[in-house]
């Protein structure tokens, strides 16, 4: 049976030689993962969709720069993280000159999960999501990327380093700093539960 990695490698080779269906396969294999990453980095659906489009567009442009011995998924995540960071930086600059925007129409991180029923749980759940979002926003871009990749995407610290172009020890310290900041931000709320 052909692994995902092998089928990606074969698709990359075909896409490089001009086969549009091969690039389509790569897009179809990886879209959901890149959306998930982008949503956790940006915090809303529309931005995440933009990041997905930009990631594949850049990947297409840079396909010749992809090293065959590398892992395509790691390479694509790296582009995805950079696109998300670019968007966050632009949004930050834009927000400095704009009034706060209307809430996102999609179900963003501030909105309640409809499965959570009792009013108390619902209120608490909304508050937790709000604080998690704020805590993530306060992380530096590198800390945020490292935390999302380690905590949500389940990558090993070594893989996080590969995606972010960092030494493993630097990736580890970004994760440590991120977790400490998350803890400082969220611990008061979590303690109130006890």
């Amino acid at each position: 049976m052909i692994s995902m990695e092998e089928s990606d490698a074969a698709a990359v080779l075909r896409a490089r030689s001009g086969d549009s269906q091969a690039f389509r396969l790569l897009v179809e294999h990886h879209s959901r993962n890149i959306f998930r990453l982008a949503y956790r980095m940006t915090g809303n659906e529309q931005d995440a969709e933009d990041v997905v489009q930009e990631t594949f567009f850049k990947a297409f442009r840079q396909l010749n720069g992809f090293e065959e011995r590398s892992n395509f998924s790691t390479w694509l995540y790296r582009i995805g993280v950079n696109c998300a960071l670019d968007l966050l930086r632009k949004r930050r600059r834009h927000d400095e000159f704009q009034e706060p925007l209307e809430p996102d129409h999609g179900r963003g991180v501030f909105e309640a999960d409809p499965h959570e029923s009792t009013p108390d749980r619902l209120v608490f759940s909304i508050e937790v999501k709000r604080q998690v979002t704020q805590a993530l926003e306060r992380l530096s871009p590198m800390e945020r990327s490292a935390f999302v990749l380690r905590h949500f995407e389940g990558m090993s610290i070594e893989e996080v380093g590969q995606v972010l172009g960092l030494q493993t020890s630097a990736a580890k310290h970004s994760i440590f700093r991120a977790v400490r900041k998350m803890r400082v931000a969220l611990e008061p709320l979590m303690s109130s539960l006890r």
Binding site: R16, R32, Q62, N82, D86, V132, H151
Partner: protein, 251 residues
């Protein structure tokens, strides 16, 4: 065993502690550390409240349908992807291919042909050496611009990034040709250069001062600018020697 610090607890939570059994054993016997670990686990579990909206099975196809018109604008699919880049990159690639042909020609045995029909090898060598030297100079310029970049808060390196993207493909051809021709020194420097160019091409176009310092540090640590300059000087020397040889023969 003394108390566990927060970093050890974080590594243990993510299953990456070097000695998990020792940490488990300590947690079992130490109430303070156990409480610390529980606090960490509660906080990190709360982070999972950030749920991602579900995407349909057909999501990949929908992404492709939105993406495809943008790709078509950039180039027609019946062209090789190699040729979607700028005119500058076209020129680089063509010269890179000429260099590849030159090195391969030196390396592979060839059939005897009448002397009168041989191409003027020295002229060709001069041109090809000049294109390698130009490539090294362009790369050096891009790296210098990144090293000397400055800005308030964030630094825009989008221009250098675009140049790096263009240089990567040509660099790869030069490197492969140098490897085939047994020019190990040049191949090694080109490989290091390629890694830096790729990193620039893949990095964010807006760098924080921390990120920029990290790239500068790597450029400095590897001494890549110095190596590129030395190799570039050597290529220029060979180019001059080839020119002198050509002039001598024409006398």
């Amino acid at each position: 065993m003394k108390h566990l610090n927060e970093d050890q607890l974080i590594l243990h939570y993510y299953g990456e502690a070097p000695d998990p059994a020792a940490i488990e054993s300590h947690l079992f016997s130490c109430a303070d550390c156990r409480a610390g670990f529980e606090g960490l686990r509660r906080v990190l579990a709360a982070a999972n409240a950030l749920q991602v909206p579900e995407r349909r099975e057909s999501y990949g196809s929908e992404v492709w349908q939105r993406l495809r018109p943008r790709l078509s604008e950039r180039r027609r699919w019946d062209w090789k992807p190699t040729f979607h880049v700028s005119r500058w990159a076209w020129a680089s690639l063509i010269t890179a291919m000429l260099v590849a042909a030159f090195f391969l020609g030196r390396f592979w045995p060839r059939a005897e042909i009448p002397v009168a029909k041989l191409p003027p090898g020295q002229v060709r060598e001069r041109i090809l050496l000049a294109s390698v030297a130009d490539h090294l100079e362009s790369s050096q310029r891009v790296l210098m611009e990144v090293v000397n970049a400055s800005g308030n808060g964030s630094v825009d390196i989008s221009q250098q990034q675009a140049s790096a993207e263009d240089l990567v493909a040509a660099n790869r051809l030069y490197r492969q040709s140098a490897e085939r021709a047994g020019e190990a020194g040049m191949a090694g420097v080109l490989e290091e250069l390629e890694r830096i160019l790729l990193e620039l091409a893949h990095s964010s176009s807006q760098l924080t001062s921390g990120e920029l310092n990290e790239i500068r540090r790597r450029i400095d640590t590897q001494g890549i600018l110095f190596k590129v300059r030395v190799i570039g000087d050597r290529v220029r020397e060979r180019q001059k020697a080839a020119a002198r040889e050509l002039a001598r023969r024409n006398l």
